[in-house]
Amino acid sequence: MAGEPAKRQKREEYKKSLNADESNAALPKKKFYRQRAHANPFSDHSLAYPKSPSDMDWASHYPAYAVKQPQEKDEAESHDSEKAIAITQPVEIADIGCGFGGLLFALAPRFPTSLILGMEIRTSVTEYVQEKVRALRAQNSATSGFQNAACIRANTMKFLPNFFAKGQLAKIFLCFPDPHFKQRKHKARIVSYTLNSEYAYVLKPGGIVYTITDVEDLHKWMVEHLEKHPSFERVREEEQEKDECVEIMRTETEEGKKVERNKGMKYVALFRRLEDPAWP
């Protein structure tokens, strides 16, 4: 992925320094990756995204699953080389707006046979998660742990269908999304009636959208807009509480921990992707 040269260089140097002192398994320090809280989902970020899901270089994010183990030449940007980009199984779990990746890293060992992808719009937050993936893979090389976790920078509100094919995903997590309080900004919310159609598109029937927030109004908003969408039905509370992901979502997300410390409320709602009806 093309990035700003200075930043990339900094990152390369950081990587090198980690390698040099033989502690390449050291976790990245969060303070180097902090970034202002909000990114505008409508603006033209110079984002890198594939033209279509099959153009996506998945192999570089999940090297252990690459179709052909490619001999990586380090300038990954070289044009149209015969680089294998495909992987042996598709990504099945997406953590949208993954932040610093707490959920991603908690899910990875619990779903060792599924590929999990964190998606985050903020550049340096994404870089942090990517560094942590690298470090955790190094720490767990003996067991091949965390080979199933990766993170990319993406504006999911615009480009989700560029990454995932129809019906590809089994789970989508929307954890503690930015609330965008102002009326005018409601279309900036990560859940809306129209955007729900895109979640339905990338989810397979039976797949689940997981939502959690500490903002009651946002919870109500998400419930209302997902319930109103004919492709989703709410998962009943009994079933919800049996889902192991719900507990992980409550306790392992960064935001979940913060709310815990502040003794705040956490509102959870799950929605199941229904089969498409027959054509009228």
Binding site: A39, S52, K187, Y193, L195, P230
Partner: protein, 505 residues
């Protein structure tokens, strides 16, 4: 300079009235509509002239706080409406009974009927929450599909029922809690940017418009007519197509973020069937061609030809190269071509199907922003088979195509006679509105040539330009910037590198 606005929209169609076949030509120039029948040269303009001049004489005493309600509930028999907003889009109902139009500044969807005496009647005027960008109709003509700048598509009944448009109209559930629409119906600027020319008044007007938009934003009143949110992109929508294939209805939408999306038609418009992935720049136009294939184009060097029901790219057409070849072939235009041809970019502004009896071979006409030509491409599944550049006397603004017989078609173009050919901003030394509406015809060989069968009609339209505009008080110095803004802007859809706020260190 005494210049009138070129027609920014043009539509020709054949209809049969009381058993008589006739060809109508409709043009939109600024905030006016002009219609003419081609053989008799009879026609009219809208809004009617007396009304228009009355309006402009009225002093701009609109001092009311914009947030305050001015009674102006849209009704379905509002024939004497005035209009200060500029038309940006015209669509024809499939039964050819209705013209659906968008006016930009007031964000209105307007429905017109043209009677047998060629008088234009406005049947309804519905101000949307966001500025509409493109409209089409379902194949049964029951519903207008309106795509807006904010990325949403709304369904509106073509004809408003008598109880529609009343104050306490219940809003369908999908809109009641979605982003609360504004109510632009409350406010009408006392003039448009095209009718105010002194710098000071211009400022006042701009302020008025700005205030109004602030006022509107605060308003939480829902729209007062039936409308339903069908689908949405988080991007600016650029075009919308309705298709009916084997009894199944589809909506195809395109956006500034390279997407071509295929959804089901209502009542299942919430279901996305798939995407035609491949564009690397904004998509600006979609066109369903005779074979049923879809052609898309915008900021890319190629047009894409799709088997869209299977999301499969069949072939591409090098429109950029065709434009380059044309410019280089014209002595007075070759200077536009940059030394580094690789950096030359086109912005496709229009793609029109040329109806033919041969369903395997498709033909389209294509225009690009600021290029004084129409490009004709004939192609089949394997690729391009025919190409012709039809030179124009000014930049192509709009084109409309009608089938005269199974084997012959007529294309009517609207040409920018204000700016120099090839330029989006340099004015001509003198006006040449006699060349405003050239007509071309193409026989079975597919070659296009200049044609005179519609000259009477074109002449009438051109004449209306100066008289209508004169009546509206626009005959003086016309604000070139305003004209430029009205006619151009497609190239601005291209994303500029380095505009990422997130990347700023």
């Amino acid at each position: 300079m005494n210049m009138a606005l070129p027609f920014q929209c043009l539509k020709a169609y054949r209809r049969s009235v009381k058993g008589k076949e006739e060809t109508l030509l409709i043009g939109a120039s600024g905030s006016r509509l002009v219609v003419v029948e081609s053989s008799s040269g009879q026609g009219s303009t809208w809004p009617a002239e007396e009304e228009a001049s009355k309006e402009t004489e009225a002093p701009a005493e609109d001092e009311e706080r914009p947030g305050k309600r001015i009674k102006l509930t849209p009704t379905n028999t509002n024939d004497s409406n005035s209009n200060k907003s500029n038309f940006s889009c015209l669509a024809l109902s499939n039964d050819q009974q209705y013209i659906v139009a968008i006016t930009g500044e007031d964000k209105c969807v307007r429905v017109f009927h043209i009677d047998s005496d060629y008088r234009i009647h406005q049947l309804s005027q519905r101000p949307m929450a966001r500025r509409p960008c493109a409209i089409t109709l379902t194949s049964d003509d029951s519903t207008i599909l309106c795509a807006d700048k904010f990325g949403d598509v709304y369904a509106l009944p073509l004809l408003m029922s008598p109880d529609d448009g009343v104050q306490d109209q219940e809003v369908p559930p999908t809109t009641s809690t979605a982003e609360q629409p504004e109510t632009p119906v409350e406010f009408k600027p006392s003039a448009s940017v095209l009718t105010v020319h002194s710098g000071r008044n211009r400022k006042v007007l701009e302020e008025q418009i700005r205030q109004a938009s602030l006022g509107q934003r605060k308003s939480k009143e829902p729209l007062k007519f039936k409308h339903e949110l069908l689908l949405g992109h988080v991007s600016m929508l650029t075009d919308i197509v309705y298709a009916n294939v084997n009894g199944r209805g589809y909506i195809v939408t395109s956006d500034r973020d390279e997407h071509v999306r295929v959804s089901r038609a209502p009542p299942q418009a919430h279901i996305i069937e798939g995407f035609c992935h491949g564009h690397e720049e904004f998509v600006n136009r979609l066109c369903l061609v005779s074979s049923g294939r879809l052609v898309s184009g915008g900021g890319d060097a190629q047009l894409f030809v799709w088997d869209w029901l299977n999301y499969r790219l069949l072939t591409t057409i090098d429109v950029r190269d065709a434009v380059l070849r044309f410019l280089k072939s014209q002595a007075e235009l070759s200077s536009i071509v940059p030394a580094n041809e690789e950096g030359f970019k086109v912005a496709v502004t229009g793609i029109w199907n040329v109806p033919r009896s041969d369903a395997q071979r498709d033909e389209i006409l294509v225009t690009c922003e600021g290029v004084p030509a129409i490009f004709h491409f004939g192609f089949d599944e394997a690729g391009k088979k025919h190409e012709q550049a039809i030179p124009l006397n000014g930049n192509a603004i709009d084109v409309t195509v009608i089938q005269q017989s199974p084997d012959s078609c007529v294309a009517v173009a609207s040409v920018d006679y204000v700016h120099k050919p090839g330029s989006l901003k340099d004015p001509r030394e003198q006006k040449q509105d006699d060349q405003a509406i050239p007509t071309f015809t193409s026989g079975p060989d597919g070659q296009w040539q200049a044609d005179s069968t519609l000259d009477t009609a074109a002449g009438f339209l051109t004449k209306q330009l100066s008289t209508a505009v004169g009546a509206a008080g626009l005959a003086g110095e016309v604000d070139l910037k305003a004209i430029q803004g009205l006619l151009y802007g497609t190239a601005n859809l291209r994303k500029q590198p380095g505009t990422d706020p997130d990347q700023v260190a």
